[in-house]
Symmetry: C2
Subunit: 310 residues, 2 copies
Amino acid sequence: MSARVLDGTAVANQIRGELLPQVAAFAARAGRPPGLGIVLVGDDPASEIYVRSKLKSAGEAGLRADLERLPATASLDQLLTAVDRLNRSDAHDGILVQSPLPAALGEDAERRVFDAVDPRKDVDGFHPINVGRLVQNRPALVACTPSGVIELLERSGIAIAGARAVVIGRSDIVGKPMSLLLLHRHATVTICHSRTRDLPSVASEADILVSAIGRPGFVTTAFVKPGATVVDVGIMSITDRETVARMFPPGSKRWDTYQKRGALTVGDVHPEIAEVAGALSPVPGGVGPLTIVMLLKNTLAAAESRARAV
Amino acid sequence: MSARVLDGTAVANQIRGELLPQVAAFAARAGRPPGLGIVLVGDDPASEIYVRSKLKSAGEAGLRADLERLPATASLDQLLTAVDRLNRSDAHDGILVQSPLPAALGEDAERRVFDAVDPRKDVDGFHPINVGRLVQNRPALVACTPSGVIELLERSGIAIAGARAVVIGRSDIVGKPMSLLLLHRHATVTICHSRTRDLPSVASEADILVSAIGRPGFVTTAFVKPGATVVDVGIMSITDRETVARMFPPGSKRWDTYQKRGALTVGDVHPEIAEVAGALSPVPGGVGPLTIVMLLKNTLAAAESRARAV
């Protein structure tokens, strides 16, 4: 094991520590704390966990955080009405509609709901106007996971300017904003995906390799240039014995955890890359804690920006 | 000379031929032609030429095209008033404010003016909401030059899916939208810029190399993998004898043109790459004619989309 571990939890705590006095100062000025409204439709167990965790973190940071629940049977109109109420609420600076929405709402439901969020309250950074402002390198609310990765790299002393960065995955939520954030910090950025030919060879050009595709242990040593920084953004719970065994040899600590629980939280990155990489943001413990703290940071930024606009 | 020449003029004429009946059909349905409003501030000679050319092409394609001129001394408010008038005009589907604006208007004048254009009429594709929709791979008005490059590649039978594409230049107008358009067509895209280390080596990974930096003859054979497709988006008029001689040997046709006129229109790409590249979109004659025809195409699309929305 040679790679330095980039400690997402430590960086998240550092940012949290910086936010506390800023949140308090806002509350003193405004006579109210920054407010986050979360809309949760249905009862997907993973979403429940994420939402609890966001509410708890927001509360601990001194934010007001409200959960609006809608039944799995809710109509798109009901959901849009809930969003509209939060758009018009003076107490709420940030709005988050937990994804995924129930499939019954239709294929374009998420897009329609994200578009309906007031861009000034769009703390997920999913509204096209925030995405466009990100492309133009202007102040914007930016998706939490990629901006968390930037914080992690910068606060861990990883040089981005001049580096070759390779992003695996071209999603709207991670891959594309991640590429833009790296580009604006003067990395030479390559964005890869399912149609990329000879992916290991392309990936191994990277000084900074970010993987966000959601395939357990997909990124092996063949993808990694010796000494490179590897950030694992994939996160999933796996139950398949063979997949676990491929990543963690029987007898290892993680294998034992799997034996006990019957499931294991893993990322895109195979643990073997620790022998090759110079630095590694692992799963769990890497980017996850940063995503939540960036949500709080975005909510504070939205609150301050709304207060300035009044 | 081995590279196949990608003939931008021929492709532009092909698209123009397709537009004519579509414009006529729109006019018959709507009782008016699609309308383009161009705002020109001041009297920059290059801008004069571009605007004339746009007006002429629009007229030939059956569009209504109006030029609103403002003096170089116009205030930002006067300019924004002109834009607002076009925003509210029923006869105008597309609005183009010719860049660059006079420096006296201030550094952020262009940004403020482009933001003021109704996104539905934003035929330059500069409004953040159109840029965001482009990122999200949704219907949008997209910047004319990069979408012209896509037309040129696709209609010339250059395979984009699975190709490695390298874009040199990260401007909002060409480099970034170009990268996104190539990405959505399943290229593996690398975006390079002034801070890229060992640019020739990175560029020579490309199956499709697009240069948009505005440095005469900068892209030499060292940048080009044998057989690659090279698209020259840089365009400038040079007068410096040594720069011309570096690109065109005394005695050549282009050198003679320079001798006669004292200036020469050149691109980023050194002509020597024709010996290495498989296909080449040269300057002049490559992308330039496509940029204008994409403006007409965008104006028709904006007209059709506005008519549907009524």
